[in-house]
């Protein structure tokens, strides 16, 4: 699916804003939140001081120290820039959302009389009136009336939606606009707590908290930073020893040691870590899903079991005619014509699908009610459970099996045994049988089929490949459920499911250590949504459902859950891949820096410089420059995420290990070599 709200990664205004934000983020309090980058930051300050000392003291090597210092500052700035650009898109979106909050007045209803108050004065429980053209002043529930509402400000979808009192379509969101009719709304949120406020805070990342996995990774990175700090700090005494015993060379200078330290600590992943998290949330947002926390997105990647409602998710909501089964002695054409005639007055999707089948499969020409004059049209009702037509002495009906049987018998006809056989057959394969009769004759059975959405089977196969089990939830009887489950390719099903059954299933799966995701929209889904590890509420759903879930799908598309799972997985993969890459890079940096550091003491160590870097300074500088530039080079990957391809974990691992592990070992060598040659060419080292 193509994400909505997509803005190019490097949109002009976003980049400009990110550049200035990157500078603002140099505030030590901001940098201190990231231990790895804080070390680089301190290194930048120390080398800047040494540079100034070299410059004015006419001692040392100001050109070299200055360049080291400059590139260390760039390293910090590049990391800040990555974070700023990840935040940029969210900020732009927040600005758009804020515009929806311009609504300032509301028509409050107090004991039957209206008064105009500021929207910000509305409190939970207040009643307000909205008519065509009014903005809805706050989140609430429609308690009276029906209205078409424009929710494009929030969902980006321009087609209006219907909101009505009672039932599952009663929730309205502040910032949306009533297009027709009049509704009375009971406000359910105090100002500042509204959906729109939360949404702005979420997209802006204002309340962003580190996710559990991000925290664990930060600990690993901090640990590695301390290990390398140890390695570099103790290198000084070891160097002392070596110089003393070799009788030549000089101890590495502070800028050189700082350069080594910065190259070794995992700056690549350290600098991009927060950008990855923000971009992950943003990617969910681009799919028009509002995740209440990063934790929920991460949990989506860990899902073991996916509960999907059958209707609307796995199958199209409506049944469609798939076959006409004639009784013995009845021709195909005869039953098709009768089916067509009897359905002309049936406006339901099922009725229309019969017309389509008659035309497409049985070649009947299209007809409508006007083509038969003097006909008496019988519309489908819940009482008769039949539709049909009476004209020129002829009378045709189609409808539920037993209704048609009774109707034929009342006309003095008899029911052939084949009829019951066909009805049973169709029921067993999960279809709905409809009888067709003309006068006292039963002509046959229409097979209404629950049609599985195209492409679902492949999606479930993909899910299975990633180790996710799908369970179909349906109110159908077990026979029907089984048939559809088989056709859709889900792993399991829960038939005749009540909300309590659903809850039980979730609890059972969780007791087995599995993480469960589900979608829901009704109020009775709320407890299950709250219980599930990932609960995606439909935006069209009730307020209760939206509060219970930890994500809201603004498009109200239940299959979206699958994309959320993929985003969650991609998020973790990106972190893992960049960590591996970052650590693997260290090997090459060692080979660049260590010989350069000690070649004066032990000329034989030049053998370790097998890539042939020009001189000690150019080797160290090019490693530092590579270390800074690789952050910039990887920003697009961090923002887009490592693409998730559904395949087994073992295969995914081998693939990523090859790309980011082995790649991380090799890539730096040629890059550092090129940088080295360029530095020498430019007489910078």
């Amino acid at each position: 699916m193509k994400p909505k709200n997509s803005v190019s990664l490097f949109d002009g205004p976003i980049v400009r804003r990110a550049l200035s934000d990157a500078l603002k983020k140099l505030d030590p309090r901001a940098v201190a939140k990231n231990p790895v980058m804080f070390v680089v930051y301190v290194g930048s300050i120390v080398t800047t001081y040494l540079f100034l000392k070299d410059l004015f003291g006419q001692m040392g090597n100001a050109l070299f120290t200055g360049q080291i210092s400059l590139w260390l500052w760039f390293t910090v700035l590049f990391a800040n820039f990555a974070e700023a650009i990840a935040e940029g898109r969210g900020k732009a979106q927040a600005d758009t959302l804020r515009k929806a909050k311009t609504q300032s007045n509301a028509r409050r209803l107090i004991s039957g009389t209206e008064e105009v108050v500021a929207a910000s004065e509305l409190r939970k429980g207040d009643l307000v009136v909205c008519e065509a053209g009014d903005g809805i002043p706050g989140d609430g529930e429609v308690i009276e009336g029906v209205a078409a509402v424009d929710e494009s400000a929030i969902t980006g979808e321009s087609a209006p939606v219907i909101r009505e009192s009672g039932g599952d379509r009663s929730a309205v969101t502040g910032g949306t606009k009533v297009l027709s009719d009049r509704i009375v709304i009971r406000i359910t949120q105090n100002p500042g707590e509204s959906f729109l406020d939360r949404m702005i805070a979420l997209v802006e990342g204002a309340q962003r908290q580190k996710t559990p996995n991000e925290i664990a990774l930060s600990i690993l990175l901090s640990g590695l930073t301390i290990v390398f700090l140890l390695a570099v700090v103790t290198l000084l005494p070891f160097a002392n020893y070596s110089i003393r015993s070799a009788g030549q060379g000089a101890v590495p200078t502070i800028p050189v040691l700082v350069a080594l330290l910065v190259c070794l600590i995992p700056t690549t992943i350290g600098g991009l870590l927060s950008a990855i998290g923000i971009a992950g949330m943003d990617r969910v947002m681009q799919h028009n899903v509002l995740a209440m926390s990063g934790k929920a997105v991460e949990a989506a990647g860990d899902i073991n079991t996916l509960l999907l409602d059958k209707t609307g998710t796995i199958t199209y909501g409506n049944r469609q005619a798939a076959e006409f089964a004639p009784m013995p002695g009845v021709s195909d054409r005869e039953i098709a014509e009768a089916a067509q005639l009897s359905s002309l007055a049936d406006e339901t999707p099922e009725g229309r699908s019969i017309l389509v089948l008659a035309k497409e499969k049985y070649g009947l020409s299209e007809r409508d009610q006007s083509s038969i004059s003097g006909a008496d049209w019988i519309e489908f009702t819940a009482q008769t459970r039949m539709s049909g037509v009476d004209f020129s002495g002829q009378s045709v009906r189609k409808g539920a099996g037993d209704s048609v049987k009774k109707w034929v018998e009342s006309h003095g006809g008899s029911v052939p045994p084949e009829f019951d056989a066909q009805v049973t057959r169709i029921s067993q394969i999960g279809g709905t049988p409809l009888g067709v009769a003309s006068g006292d004759r039963i002509l046959g059975v229409i097979y209404l089929k629950d049609v599985v959405k195209t492409g679902m089977k492949e999606r479930f196969d993909a899910l299975r490949a990633m180790g996710i089990r799908t369970v179909m939830i349906t109110g159908d009887n077990p026979l029907t459920a089984k048939s559809i489950a088989g056709e859709a390719g889900v792993d399991d099903f829960l038939a005749q499911a009540t909300p309590e059954d659903k809850m039980q299933l979730i609890k059972k799966e969780q007791a087995d250590g599995k993480l469960v995701a589900m979608t829901g929209d009704g109020t009775n889904d709320a407890p299950a949504l709250a219980q599930a590890d990932v609960g995606v509420a439909m935006n069209t759903g009730t307020q209760a459902a939206k509060e219970a879930g930890n994500m809201v799908d603004l498009d109200s598309n239940p299959t979206k859950l699958i994309e959320v799972v993929e985003i969650g997985k991609g998020l973790l993969m990106t972190r893992g891949a960049l960590t591996t890459f970052s650590i693997a890079n260290d090997v090459a940096k060692y080979f660049a820096i260590i010989p350069a550091m000690f070649v004066a003491t032990f000329p034989q160590l030049q053998k370790l410089n097998f890539i042939g870097l020009s001189n000690a300074q150019s080797a160290i500088l090019s490693a530092v420059i590579f270390n800074a530039l690789i952050i910039v080079a990887l920003i697009p990957l961090a923002l887009k995420g490592v693409p998730y391809k559904p395949m087994s974990a073992a295969k995914t691992l081998r693939r990523n290990l090859l790309i980011y592990g082995v790649g991380g070992l090799i890539v730096p060598f040629p890059c550092i070599w090129v940088l080295d040659k360029m530095l020498v060419l430019l007489h910078l080292a």
Binding site: A216, L235, Y241, G301, G513, M573, T579
Partner: protein, 598 residues
Amino acid sequence: MTPNGLFQIALFCAVLLLSVKPLGAYMARVFEGERTLLSPALSPLENGLYKLFGVSKDDDQTWVQYAFSLLAFSLVGLLLTYVFLRLQGMLPFNPQGYGARQMPADLAFNTSASFTTNTNWQSYAPDYTLSYFSNMVALAIHNWMSAAAGMAVAIALVRGIARRNANGIGNFWVDATRSILYILAPICLVYALFLVAQGVPQNFSAYTQVTTLEGTKQTLAQGPVASQEAIKMLGTNGGGFFNANSAHPFENPTPLTNLIQMLSIFLIPAALTYTFGKMVGNTKQGWALLGAMFALFIIGAGVCYNAEAAGNPLVHALGVPGGNMEGKETRFGIANSALFAVVTTDASCGAVNAMHDSFTPIGGLVPLLNILSGECIFGGVGAGLYGMLMFAILAVFIAGLMVGRTPEYIGKKIEGYEVKMAMLAVLVLAASILGFAALGANGNLPTDGKTTLAALNQFPATAYGSASDTFYGATYNNINNSGPHGLSEILYAFTSATGNNGSAFAGITANTPFYNVTLGLAMLVGRFLMIIPLLAIAGSLAKKKYTPSNKGTFPTDSGTFVAVLCGTIVIVGALTYFPVLALGPVVEHYLMNAGKTF
């Protein structure tokens, strides 16, 4: 390398691998408290011991209680040994009349720390220092106790992984008792008898004065050697009865004893991987760990043997062809010396049958790298398994993220707490090795014997019965060799101590207060500051619920995982120690090729 040498290495591997399953399965039964072949004989004794010490067999301990029991057990052992060593002059079985003069306070601290931590570093020459009582009671007891403690910790960690929603990780006293009664004691009994049959002494006689054929007087050391030799190897202790350790003909008289000694070092650590697999309900998980251990071992053995067999180009230039035989027993030759060196440093045994100091730079780099890898390549009894599990947790975390799920190891989610504890253990090891070695390489102390500072690096005359004390002054003067080789000697000493290995590169005189105390601290840090975080991981994992694995789970019983695990061990080790290794053995290798030795 010769076909004969390669054949001997292959034979060693074959016998080792064949022993893994039977012993591993037996140990799993022992630690699960099931009946075994030896139960009829041993369980009355076992229950009697519990009654005597007031241990309730079914008392499940939390990780804090478990750690506390272990620390109390070790502390009491440490203090007792210290007191026994200091008072050895007043205690029995002392035909040579050694006393506190031979065992000053710093040496006694170093020695008691060393044996308590399963390191068995010996700063002293045992034959000039220790009474039989000190050897058999004060020290040998730790050969059993420290090995049992190591196994207990490993089993506790395995239980943490295997158990679900549990508070406890087992009972330390029960685990330690069972380790000794059911595993160490029966094997050692048979083993010691075998050694006696091969000609290893087992007596309480005073040293024998003999007149050699040349007419000179020679003192032949005696003692209860065979019994100590058995547990020295099996418990990966490594502290020899004699200074020459397993190069001494009384400790290691025949090629057969040499093979069995090497096997007995790896026996329990290798089999514990199967025990692990059995206890977590998937033996493939155990084989994967063994696979990683074996891969790293065989690479090390190949590199070391190759370097030693190739020999020293400078010696070749003198017209002496062939491999490097310096510091090796002619009885064992190059293949068996190289293999022994790799085995004893992979496992944290530290027994030696050749001088690692005399290996070629690359040949000597391998033992050093083996210990630097955190003693997880087979490792000490128990210590190897828990060290490997620590790396498994880190490997699963880094690589596991790449499959797009919260990393899991055998159904347990690896989260912030586990990563924090595993990193803490890695950090502590690195800090101890690098910190102390940096200090050793630069400690400027005066040589004037009258100052207190000079006394810090004072080598006592009693150590080898020499006439007067030596004041080394600067701590880098204790090494026999200068240049990069000297740095290797200092680095090796602190690596060996922190890794609880105990082998010496030799070439360093460590019996001075400075080295005794710093090395002793390194041993305690390397043992207990690694065990505590790992027990914390055990406690945290035991509490977690089990997440069933499926296609989306990173498979930790596959070849890919073995590769990832090896990569993690090598990279974490290599990245931390590359700078100092470059200044030590690596540059020494290039210098040797350029014609310069130290």
